[in-house]
Symmetry: none
Subunit: 218 residues, 2 copies
DNA sequence: CAAATTTTCACCCTGGCGGGGTATTGAAAT
DNA sequence: ATTTCAATACCCCGCCAGGGTGAAAATTTG
């Protein structure tokens, strides 16, 4: 285990040449350092705990636990760790599953080192670097799954306070809870709720919640 | 109308300065040429027919027909025209709708000219350039609507009757309504609902509805 | 067949929710 | 300066939702 500074990158890649190459690239880049380079995802949790990375460079095709499963495990346990998937394939199913597993980026192995380093910086800063082709597939997947919700787009203009209340309703809070959360009177919340119902053309909390989620009002 | 070579770009942008700037950038770049620069989407079809672009640079915020509607119209009629959305805002709803409307890329107006030219090349070559932050939002939207395959969920094993009741709850029906819809007693519905709550670990209709929608239980 | 599960129905009670008002304040728009 | 609207707050009333308990058919399962 070496001393690590800046953004700590852990590498999961079964090909030793590539693995060593990535490690060299990381350690050779100011602000980056490799805190672990592994050939497989065995003892995954232990490896992550020991290396304590900010970003994980994850190969999808690995012996044993595959990269997508590993991604799912890591994001479930460490939501703040960014995972950059890298692969030789760009098929829809893998992309879809990787995204659902919580990947923050998806790049091809053919990506030149300079772009790869840039990608690591981007995930670290909340971005989601994707090879343009991958991005295109994501958009197409999205269009494929979205029409179910993009139906009646009435323009509901809720005030900021109303949106706030609605958001808390979606989380399942009672009006009393919402009141104490926002440091407001219970009756005030009820007034807001009544207005929300009028604006959304609904008559119950469940309906409001359903509409809020479906139309992404919160 | 000027003579056009290479990739023909049409620009829709209400701000004259930006519009002229983009036009200059396009015409000043080898392989690109501006085949039309418009301040609004009036006579949209006629404008597209006349300029016959390969790529459309579309501003979302425009007087009259907004950019998303324009995108929808163009992609419906000319599926091969690539549309690059550009905007100052990066809010989820606009991104979502733009993607559903068929946009091929989504960049911020703050994108430097060099990156913008690169983005035009990328859409033309089947890619989907996105600002890293936008890409991140797209991924998050995706994760929000896609957990259909994430099997690591809890014991949400609802009986078929319970799923049926839950589905009617999601549609906003009252228990009395559900009872008469299913030709059952009101008390029966209440019993089912209580069991649903226990299984989903919730304590109200709103929570159950939210969980049902989010976890794709209906 | 017996056991387990699902589905069905019933009653009581408390409290929160939905609908109807009314009213004051401050900020933004005109 | 006046109007409009968002945000705040309170009242009453009725009813449905949520919780507990119990139990009897029907169906699936062992």
């Amino acid at each position: 285990m070496q001393y690590c500074v800046g953004t700590k990158v852990a590498i999961f890649e079964d090909n030793k040449l590539l693995r060593d190459g990535f490690e060299a690239i990381c350690n050779g880049t100011p602000g980056l350092s490799c805190c672990g380079a592994y050939a497989d995802s065995n003892s995954l949790i232990h490896k992550i705990e020991r290396s304590n990375p900010d970003v994980v460079l994850m190969d999808i095709e690995m012996p044993g636990i595959d990269g997508i499963t590993a991604t799912r495990i890591i994001t479930a346990r460490w939501p703040d760790i960014k995972i950059l998937i890298q692969t030789v394939f760009e098929d829809d199913d893998k992309i879809f599953n990787a995204i659902c597993a919580g990947a923050s980026g998806y790049i091809l192995k053919s990506t030149p080192p300079a772009k790869m380093v840039e990608a690591i910086y981007e995930v670290q800063n909340g971005g989601s670097p994707m090879t343009p082709n991958i991005a295109n597939r994501v958009l197409r997947l999205f269009q494929q799954f979205a029409p179910a919700v993009s139906t009646d787009n009435e323009n509901y203009i809720l005030s900021s306070r109303e949106k706030e209340v609605l958001a808390l309703m979606v989380e399942g809070n009672s009006f009393h809870n919402i009141a104490s959360t926002l440091f407001l009177s219970y009756e005030t919340i009820r007034t807001h709720v009544k207005r929300i119902y009028k604006k959304l053309h609904v008559a119950s909390a469940s309906e409001a919640v359903a509409k809020a989620i479906r139309q992404r009002l919160v």
